[in-house]
């Protein structure tokens, strides 16, 4: 294991202090032995900090993993184990191994968790640089997993290839929460140790500076992984000294395109966006990173997409700016709340003009309250279920392109900078279902949708907004226009 070991800060106090029970230098364990009802089957791995056993218990359908810490003289390994025992039982969902049981420090300490099949992402490093499509797939999966864990108030702090595994359906699973931090629980690793806590190649600049409170540290680590998978090289090598770790505070990573000449500029933009030294300049959330990976055409290219290192002047300018700005302290919930993915479901048919205006005003309110929000503007072109339609309208215009242009025109008064808004025209027979599917696939936090009230169209089609409100997994704002205005509009359109 390449985790940088934390140096013991000092010896035990004056000797009078009653130390917790730690005289547990592991007794030798053998297959067949039973610990708290778990039968040890096979030793799978022995790392620097823990031993992994395959175990079984009568009530378990499948074998599980028992992690037993190696309690030597290194307090870091003990505290790391305490941290994992504290945090893993609190985590839910498909992106973490399911917690089964834990044993305390009064006897044999252990954690039993779900056993994941297959190999970690580390196995993929040996095959050399990956194709961009594969890289994007892995990046999206890992970003999804990180966002899920971040929403549960936990920063992983040791994201690296050997800590990312995959389920059979491709879902990424994060393992090893020994360096993690829960935003609402005591940080047992805070300032306990002199050396930065993390793994040399992947550790974020702020972790090097002993700041353990920023979820975007995990995005930096994922950026290093993607860089490595893309180029076969790590942006700052594998330093083992603090001096070596600090290089990343002052130096820019060489752009992937200097190593792989035909590397897609948009993907380089995404990777270098993750690797920004200042967390404020990185993606605000893992969901926003996943969103960009899913929508390459929506990625706004900046100087990061160029194939050269920024000039010395530019680097000096960034360094100065960084040194002059004091980072704001936020809780994780605040950080996530200021950077939601907002979806505007815009109906652009003629009779809904007033509603489209009201929708824009509502979207403006939402964006004002969340300075780092991303806006996905979506319009649905309603298609017939059975009839194959021509993509051209009566006068030969391409309907899809036309709608996209109208959508961009709708958003223009919001005056959003490039990269903050993306535009999507969906073609589907059922507008409500299309909106719901899009929201779910893109981890949308807030849908803003219009309601046409008691129009004849609504009676005919059913209410899109009602279905969205009922079935969406996120917050939905339904926008209406005052009754007088609605009365003046006709209602014979066929699309949302």
């Amino acid at each position: 294991m390449s985790t940088i070991p934390a140096a013991p800060v000092s010896g035990p106090g004056d000797g009078a202090a009653p130390a917790p029970a730690t005289s547990l230098h592991n007794v030798s364990l053998v297959p067949g032995q039973v610990i708290d009802g778990f039968r040890l089957l096979e030793r799978l791995h022995r790392g620097g900090m823990a031993v992994l056993w395959k175990v079984t218990r009568a009530d378990l359908a499948e074998p599980a993993i028992m992690k037993i810490p190696l309690l030597g003289d290194d307090p870091a390994s003990i505290v790391g184990f305490e941290v994992e025992q504290m945090i893993l039982p609190l985590l839910r969902g498909p992106h973490v191994p399911r917690f089964i049981a834990a044993g305390g420090f009064d006897a044999q300490p252990y954690i039993v968790m779900e056993m994941l099949q297959g190999e970690s992402l580390r196995a993929r490093l040996d095959g050399g640089p990956l194709a961009p499509e594969e890289l994007v797939r892995i990046g999206m999966r890992a970003a999804e997993a990180l966002h899920d864990v971040h929403q549960q108030q936990v920063i992983h702090h040791d994201v690296k290839p050997s800590n990312i595994m995959f389920r059979a359906d491709g879902t990424a699973v994060l393992i090893d929460f020994g360096l993690a931090r829960h935003d609402r629980l005591p940080d047992l690793l805070a300032e306990q140790f002199r050396l930065p806590m993390g793994t040399g190649p992947y550790i974020s600049p702020e972790q090097v500076l002993h700041n353990r409170t920023d979820p975007r540290s995990d995005l930096y680590a994922l950026g290093v992984i993607l860089y490595y998978l893309a180029t076969g090289a790590r942006p700052f090598g594998a330093p083992t000294s603090v001096r070596g770790l600090r290089r990343r505070l002052y130096e820019q990573a060489a752009p992937p395109r200097t190593r792989v000449h035909d590397f897609p500029p948009w993907l380089q933009e995404v990777i270098l966006h993750c690797l920004e030294v200042d967390p404020e300049r990185r993606y605000a959330t893992a969901a926003q990173l996943a969103f960009d990976l899913a929508h390459p055409q929506g990625v706004a290219l900046t100087a990061r997409a160029a194939s050269q290192l920024p000039s010395a002047w530019e680097r000096l300018r960034r360094l100065t700016r960084r040194m002059l700005t004091r980072p704001e302290v936020r809780t994780m919930a605040q950080q996530l709340n200021r950077a939601p993915i907002v979806m505007a479901a815009v109906d652009l048919t003629q009779e809904s003009e007033a509603l489209a205006d009201a929708l824009r005003a509502a979207v403006r309110h939402v964006l004002n309250a969340a300075p780092q929000a991303r806006l996905a503007c979506v319009s649905v072109l309603r298609t017939n279920r059975l009839v194959l339609e021509t993509p051209l309208d009566a006068v030969g215009n391409h309907r899809h392109v036309l709608r996209l242009v109208q959508l961009q025109h709708w958003a223009r008064p919001l005056a959003l900078p490039p990269g903050r808004a993306t535009f999507h025209v969906l073609e589907a027979p059922d507008p409500a279902q299309a909106i719901l599917d899009y929201a779910s696939a893109n981890r949308v936090d807030h849908v803003v949708v219009g309601s046409r009230g008691a129009s004849s169209l609504r009676r005919y089609l059913g209410s899109v907004s009602t279905q969205v409100v009922a079935e969406a997994a996120c917050t939905v704002t339904v926008v209406k226009v005052p009754r007088e205005e609605r009365a003046s509009s006709r209602s014979d359109g066929t699309s949302l």
Binding site: P8, V9, S10, P12, G13, D14, A16, A17, P18, A19, P20, A21, T22, P75, I78, V79, E82, Q85, M86, P89, G104, F105, D106, P109, R184, L185, P186, D187, L188, A190, E191, Q192, F193
Partner: protein, 247 residues
């Protein structure tokens, strides 16, 4: 079993009622009162009666410096305003109530936990645990794994692991905190009746012994009425203001 930990009630009936109701809703089956039932507030009779009632039904009630000053008229170095409250409170309570306060124990030990009003190294000295320095003193002397104490009005959690370094943590209300068995803990639930961290909501904590989970709570209550009663009783104005401002 869920234990409710309530401390520094300071004759505030509205705050105590709200916390007891909340604790009951949360399934508390045992009550530990860490002292300072009187002083500052206008409802000493109701509060002491309530504590006596709980104690008669098996709750543990410990003695704080205000209880000692009031119950035994012993000088425990109070400022002038606080002493005025002590003197007024003595005129309100019955002989039986004063005797109850004077006879309360200073600490209690149950399982791996020590309960005490001020600190574990010298309970009757009433020194404050202002920060990690004093917390370290407590954590190094006390044999029990967890110390629960009051006296400080702001909720706080200190912990010490193998490196013997003490860290402090401002608890997030309503979040259960697993108290790792590999370290020592010092928990201060914060004041029920005189919160002083800028938030007027009452403080208390629950401890789920079986699952080793400690939860700090902030309970909004009718602090305007409690403040009004302080003024009506002619007690120092600033103790009424403190209830409204939470500071």
């Amino acid at each position: 079993m869920t234990i409710a930990l309530l401390t520094d009630i300071h004759s505030n009936r509205e705050a105590l009622e709200a916390c007891l109701a909340h604790a009951q809703d949360r399934g508390a089956t045992r009550y530990l009162f860490l002292g300072d039932y009187v002083g500052y507030g206008a409802d000493p009779v109701w509060v002491v009666d309530t504590i006596m009632d709980y104690a008669a039904r098996g709750a543990v009630a410990l003695r704080g410096n205000h209880d000692e000053a009031t119950g035994s008229a012993r000088d425990v170095h109070m400022n002038e305003d606080a002493q005025r409250c002590v003197d007024w409170t003595r005129t309100q309570l019955s002989a039986e109530q004063l005797d109850f306060l004077a006879r309360l124990p200073l600490s209690a030990q149950e399982g791996n936990a020590l309960f005490v009003h001020a600190n574990g190294w010298d309970p009757q000295g009433y020194e404050y645990i202002h920060g990690p320095m004093e917390a370290a003193r407590n954590l190094q002397v006390v044999r029990a794994r967890i110390t629960f104490c009051g006296h400080m009005h702001e909720p706080m959690l200190y912990h010490m692991g193998l490196t013997q370094r003490v860290e402090m943590f401002s608890p997030v209300p309503g979040t259960p905190i697993p108290l790792s068995a590999a370290r020592r803990w010092l928990a201060i639930p914060g004041s029920v009746g005189q919160p002083r961290d800028g938030n007027p909501a009452a403080c208390y904590a629950t401890y789920d012994e079986f699952n080793n989970l400690l939860t700090f709570w902030r309970i909004p209550y009718d602090h305007a009425t409690a403040a009004h009663k302080v003024r009506a009783a002619g007690l120092p104005e600033r103790y009424a203001d403190q209830l409204v401002l939470g500071a």
